[in-house]
Amino acid sequence: MADERADVEPAGRNVAGEAPATEPKAVTDDTTVHDDVELERTIGLVGGLAIGIGTMIGAGIFVFPGLAAANAGLAATLSFAIGGVIALLVALPTSELATAMPRSGGGYYFISRGMGTAYGAIVGLGLWLGLMFASAFYLVGLGHYASAVFAELGVALPVSPVIGIGLLFGAGLTALSIGGTENTASLQNAVVGILLVVLTAFLSYGVLDAVGVFGGESVPETFFARGYFPVLTTAALVFTSYLGFAQVATVAGEIKRPGRNLPLAMVGSVVVVTVFYVVTIFVATSAFGAERLGQFGETAMVEVAREFLGVPGAIAILGAGLLATFSSANASILSASRAVYALSRDALLPRKASEVNLRYGTPHVALLSAGGPILVLVATGQVELLAEVASFLHLIMYGLMCVALIVLRRRDPPWYAPSYRVPGYPVVPAAGALASFGLIAFMQPASIGVGIVVMAGSYLWYRYYAGDVDLKGDI
């Protein structure tokens, strides 16, 4: 049993006079041990994989294929592959950090302990807001799928119901998270299992068809139909489909046998979704050609399924799309609430923010402070902007995590004892940092602008509210 000491002593007080909560005495395979309290770890490897895959798969398969094909043509396949490689370059260092510091808050925790409070605050508040942008993006995607259901049923609506449905589900999910005390983890596992089965069946058929087994004709196309540059801008856009693995680190404090399960869950989920994404884009573009696929927009996959399998196929993919976007949105709202907890534990947000509701045992303040702004963001209906801002804020965190790893390795403080060590140090974390920051350059100026405003706001909040708080580990 690992008995690692998390030997970090936070100090200082915020404006409200609250000090950061004390760090645990020890971390074992089954618990986090404080003086006379233990916190049970209850999420196994399957649960961890379900969080990672469940968060990611909604976006990449059910929202982006049409948008990506419109931007980059057939080379969108390459855009997804690039995104997968970057995600993997970050997932490996994140795994090392997570096994050294298996605590709630994930990237925020690693960076605040490795690089100090200012970086931590920017990343932590950025993560919280980034997850809101991500949830809003998933909810708009859900709205598109639900609208497609109406279209399929032949119900003509006077106005597009996309945003209305997104808002409805956003409010519903928040209420459900506050009031629902049912065991949702097994449900999430089942949803992810069903999705993987449906997608595997559908994609296998698609691949066989594309290579001509069923006598279908596929359109030969120029791979880089729109040149090389769109490949990278599209990679920046679709990177939102790779944000989920870091959510595994957000619940690192609740993962059983963290030394083994955290790296497996993070790296495993990135590898699984990358394969699914690349195959999906390949199948989708070979069914219609990038040009027509792009015209179908957010629900392009439904048309692809209709092409292959007729109406039943379209219905199956519609259902899967609803499930996937719903579970992604749900997972992101819960992660956002975990981020609020991690920040308020460290006195960067008021302690009140992570208060637990006596009736339901749920953190209503944290959930509402995620759910409210999400609704505002959904109302904008800007799928691409929401996706890019979410990616921007996550990429900043990813890049800084890689830097934090290099800093910790160089200083080598005695409390830093990861049970998993990243292969290829220092090349892998350095490449991860460069790729993360580099990808930002290919985003739309508007997304970069919003992202920078959020970061500046986070820094100012830290200076005002918690300038005296010191969270940095002794290095």
Binding site: A21, D30, T31, T32, H34, D36, V37, E38, L39, E40, T42, I43, G44, L45, S104, S177, I178, G180, T181, E182, N183, T184, A185, V251, G253, E254, K256, R257, L334, S337, R338, Y341, R345, R351, S354, E355, V356, Y360, G361, T362, P363, L367
Partner: protein, 244 residues
């Protein structure tokens, strides 16, 4: 004096569950592992509940611990915040090597106890729990067995006499031990019915099987239907811990 058997007393410490009347006296001769636990939904980080409830939970647990200590039990206490109460209970049983788990229901002062004997497996642990908890008291112990159809009277006699001897070796007064055998009945119904006349029940944990998966553990079913405290004797821990 026999070894004090360690008995787990799990209490949902923040949900108004407390140590019921009579339970501290019942376990006065035992080593009590007092587990206060609080189950929270998955939306909530365990640490979040800890920040808010630790103090209150600890105060209550202190009170409960002193209730046991006052009557002479030795007490170890644990406080756990968890998403999965069963996992916490199972882990605590393994870590403290608990011989038995108490399903805490209220009781008047215990004068007689029903010991449900099922098979030869685990007889020694059953004997050690019964002797450890009751040998130094005036409680009368009734060994109760529901015979299977293919079990001869001789088999039953050997079984119960073996246990009887073992209990006497461990210091239980021979005059305090009675035996009772029934046949051709559903074991569970028979135990619940017989238990009605007794103040407490001691029974063994059953191996998990499809039936227990569907209907729950017999011990849990007895505990639900019998209103007094039930001591569930745990299986010998597997030599090598199985891991997920």
């Amino acid at each position: 004096m026999t070894d004090r058997p360690s008995v787990l007393v799990p209490i949902r410490v923040l949900e108004g569950e407390s140590v019921p009347e009579g339970v501290p006296e019942l376990l006065a001769d035992a080593h009590v592992v007092l587990l206060g636990y609080h189950v929270i939904p998955e939306q909530t980080a365990t640490g979040q509940a800890q920040m808010q409830f630790e103090e209150r939970a600890n105060e209550r647990l202190d009170d409960y611990a002193s209730m046991f200590e006052e009557v002479g039990a030795t007490v170890e206490r644990r406080l756990v915040f968890t998403h999965d109460g069963q996992k916490t209970i199972d882990r605590t049983i393994a870590e403290h090597d608990c011989m038995a788990v108490l399903v805490p229901n209220a009781t008047r002062s215990v004068e007689d106890v029903l010991v449900a004997v099922r098979g030869t497996v685990g007889i020694d642990r059953l004997a050690r729990v019964v002797a450890g908890v009751f040998a130094e008291t005036d409680v009368s112990v009734t060994l109760y067995h529901v015979a299977e159809t293919d079990e001869s009277d001789g088999d039953v006699e050997t079984l119960l006499e073996g246990l009887d001897e073992r209990l006497e070796e461990l210091g239980v007064e021979p005059s305090a031990i009675e035996t009772r055998v029934e046949r051709d009945r559903d074991a569970l119904d028979a135990i619940v019915e017989a238990a009605d006349e007794f103040d407490a029940v001691v029974m063994g944990e059953t191996d998990p099987s499809l039936t227990t998966f569907v209907f729950g553990m017999p011990a849990d079913q007895v505990a639900d239907r019998f209103l007094g405290p039930v001591l569930v004797v745990q299986r010998e821990p597997a030599s090598s811990a199985t891991e997920e």
